[in-house]
């Protein structure tokens, strides 16, 4: 049987994501593994898990493309696209343009504007700072003495609104320490950290029209989506598999290239 599947691998700073689509572009399976210090090994693990989950042989892959910060390092990839392109393509599998895609990942945040024809017309990435990204939340979790995975549950117990800065992770970390000394509750500070992420993202670019949120932070910290919706006064849509949307998008790009 001729190879008919297309795989995408998104080499992220925290996690490596993989997605598999069939010849008709239907999503077959996804996988997520920790990236760690070895991008190649993480990608191999993610693809291995992906194929096992889908019960598809490696030889059935027509192409495997990469995206994310490690995209150029991946020797097993046949081609690559930026995560900007991949997240837009991935979001378009679920929603029609015009869209504003807000992607919040471990190391960066992006706003991607897609027109009614599905063409990307603009994008903006965060500045060289962790503010507004998953790394910021990790730093805040450290200050609040909880694991990052426990931050959503902590924030759920918030009863008081506290404003935190969104300019610099170190400055905000210091601000949190001062507020702890003043007796502020960790639950309220956790929620404030999420609000800080939203504030930072909204400073990057004007967010208009149908807003779609993607990325690992969106997948694991749904409060961000709720706060983003409140901030813009409109519903923010989240696709299935928000964390793997980049991997899906680059698989779609591989399929598009194969079909000319």
């Amino acid at each position: 049987m001729a190879p008919s599947y297309f795989a995408g691998v998104d080499c992220g700073s925290w996690n490596t994501k993989a997605a598999l689509i069939d010849a008709d572009g239907r999503l077959v399976a996804t996988a997520v593994v920790r990236t760690g210090a070895d991008v190649q090994a993480a990608a191999a693990r993610a693809v291995g898990e992906l194929l096992e989950r889908a019960r598809v042989e490696r030889s059935a892959l027509a192409a495997l493309w990469s995206t994310g910060f490690g995209r150029h390092a991946l020797t097993l990839a046949d081609g690559s696209r930026t995560e900007i392109d991949s997240h837009a393509r991935g979001a378009l599998q679920f929603f029609r343009g015009p869209l504003t895609v807000v992607d919040i990942g471990g190391q960066d945040a992006k706003i991607i504007v897609v027109d009614g024809e599905g063409r990307r017309v603009a994008h903006k990435m965060n500045r060289k700072c962790a503010a507004g990204t998953g790394s910021f939340l990790e730093e805040m979790a450290l200050r609040l003495d909880v694991r990052i995975g426990d931050l959503p549950a902590l924030a759920a117990g918030s009863t008081e609104e506290i404003a935190l800065g969104s300019f610099c992770t170190v400055f905000t970390g210091t601000e949190v320490l001062a507020l702890i000394r003043q007796g502020k509750r960790p639950a309220d500070l956790a929620r404030a950290a999420y609000r800080s992420v939203v504030k930072r993202v909204l400073e990057m670019e004007r967010v208009e029209g149908q807003v779609v949120a993607t990325g690992g932070v969106v997948a694991h910290h749904p409060l961000v989506v709720q706060l983003l919706s409140e901030a813009i006064g409109a519903r923010v849509a989240v696709p299935d598999h928000p964390q793997e949307i980049g991997a899906l998008g680059v698989a779609v790009a591989a399929r598009a290239a194969a079909s000319g």
Binding site: F69, G79, S80, I84, D85, R119, H123, K128
Partner: protein, 425 residues
């Protein structure tokens, strides 16, 4: 880690004029150094778009510290030296040319060692114009204190909508007032004919340099922004001399020949971009390689056109110098800047504009008051804003820059202007 891109020289035709460029730049540095060491001629420091013609007419050897700043950035020595200036109270948020140059002086380092210079030439006088920023004055005053040398200059207008006669009058009066101080150090009187000659040569240099830059209106472009930042050296440091005119005659002829033969600077030119703002000197080669890899030619820039002075007129030297210094892009308000960018976008038929938002150079960063968004909305021109700096590489993320640029070219591919071709791993 630098941005990964192939060597930009691969597959690209070298300009023959480059050999001559190296010769005259080396001769310039050697000449100023010899004058400073041997006391054979007065030595002045001058800002890059300052009133250099007065200095030429009075027989000064002229050194341009912004050129030195660029060399410190390009050689990446800047990143070793800036901390010395920061510790002295010069903030990391002010011009990194200033901090890297002052730090280099304090560290006893200079990339001019490749030209045989042990240190920057000591100035007998420092002449500034604040038409570009205030930092140049503060920069010169450091050396003025260090060497006990006079610091004189023009406090110029900025953010001008239109250059009116009263603006020009005020600058002329300041230029006239400078003359006695310049004469005192030079030990001679200003000769009107010599000043006219210097202005005439500056104008010729300006016209020829503009011809070189305009050659890239051709498809494919024979000269990229990255090469132009190197070839503009004589327009900065030798303006007002015959050597600069001779050089640009040669370069203009070569570029005209290239354009006529349909030979581009890149082997293939899928897209054409405009660069606004300062170069990222420490990543010049890497960025050139990345754009070449993406088959995207950066064909024009605001920066390289900053040494085009249409107003210079040897028949009215001081007044035309004043007008030229005020008409500069950097001295203008948002509206004329936008009109200028719109004209360049049309003239060079670019597919998009890259704005470099240079952290320590707000005066030469034009993405801070909504300009990219206005151009996108009003002209439909795709725009990209890159965060970075002219010399301080701590403000520049290689990975983010690469992703931003690749993503921008993917956007252009997707807009139907070229056949989509994925970036290969």
């Amino acid at each position: 880690m630098a941005i990964r891109g192939r060597d930009r020289r691969e597959g690209e035709a070298q300009l023959r004029s480059t050999a001559r460029l190296k010769e005259i730049m080396a001769a310039h540095f050697a000449g100023v150094d010899a004058a400073a060491r041997g006391r054979t001629a007065p030595v002045a420091w001058c800002t890059s778009v300052g009133p250099v013609e007065l200095l030429r007419a009075l027989g000064y050897q002229v050194f341009f510290p912004e050129n030195h700043g660029a060399l410190l950035g390009a050689s990446r020595v800047a990143n070793e030296t800036m901390a010395r200036a920061h510790a002295l109270g010069y903030s990391p948020d002010i011009c990194s040319y200033l901090t890297s140059d002052v730090g280099a002086y304090l560290s006893g380092k200079t990339p001019l060692s490749r030209y045989g210079l042990e240190r920057v030439p000591r100035a007998d006088l420092l002449l500034f114009s604040t038409n570009q920023c205030r930092e140049v004055r503060d920069w010169f005053e450091f050396y003025g204190r260090e060497w006990g040398a006079p610091v004189v200059g023009v406090t110029s207008f900025r953010d001008l909508d239109e250059v009116a006669e009263h603006h020009v009058d005020a600058i002329v009066r300041q230029l006239e007032a400078l003359v006695p101080a310049l004469e005192a150090v030079a030990g001679r009187r200003l000769d009107a004919a010599r000043l006219e000659g210097a202005v005439a040569r500056s104008r010729t240099c300006s016209d020829l340099w503009r011809d070189c830059l305009r050659s890239s209106a051709a498809r494919p472009a024979p000269l990229t922004f990255f090469d132009a930042t190197i070839h503009m050296g004589p327009a900065v440091v030798l303006r007002g001399t015959a050597e600069a005119c001779d050089y640009y005659r040669q370069l203009a002829e070569e570029l005209s020949g290239r354009a006529g033969a349909g030979a581009g600077a890149l082997p293939r030119e899928r897209f054409r971009l405009y660069w606004d703002g300062m170069p990222v000197w420490g990543r010049l080669r890497d960025l050139a390689g990345l754009f070449a890899e993406l088959e995207t030619s950066v064909v024009a820039s605001t920066y390289c056109n900053s040494w085009v002075f249409d107003a210079l007129d040897p028949g009215d030297p001081l007044r035309s110098m004043a007008r030229a210094s005020l008409e500069l892009f950097i001295a203008r308000s948002e509206a004329p800047k936008q009109r200028y960018l719109e004209r360049m976008i049309r003239e060079f038929e670019v597919d998009g504009v890259v704005f470099h938002d240079s952290r320590t150079c707000p005066n030469n960063s034009n993405a801070r008051f909504g300009m990219p968004q206005r151009l996108r909305k009003e002209l439909g021109t795709p725009v990209l804003v890159l965060d970075g700096d002219l010399n301080d590489l701590r403000c520049f993320s290689d990975e983010q820059a690469r992703t931003n640029i690749e993503g921008f070219v993917e956007q252009l591919e997707g807009s139907g202007k070229a056949t989509a071709a994925p970036v290969r791993a």
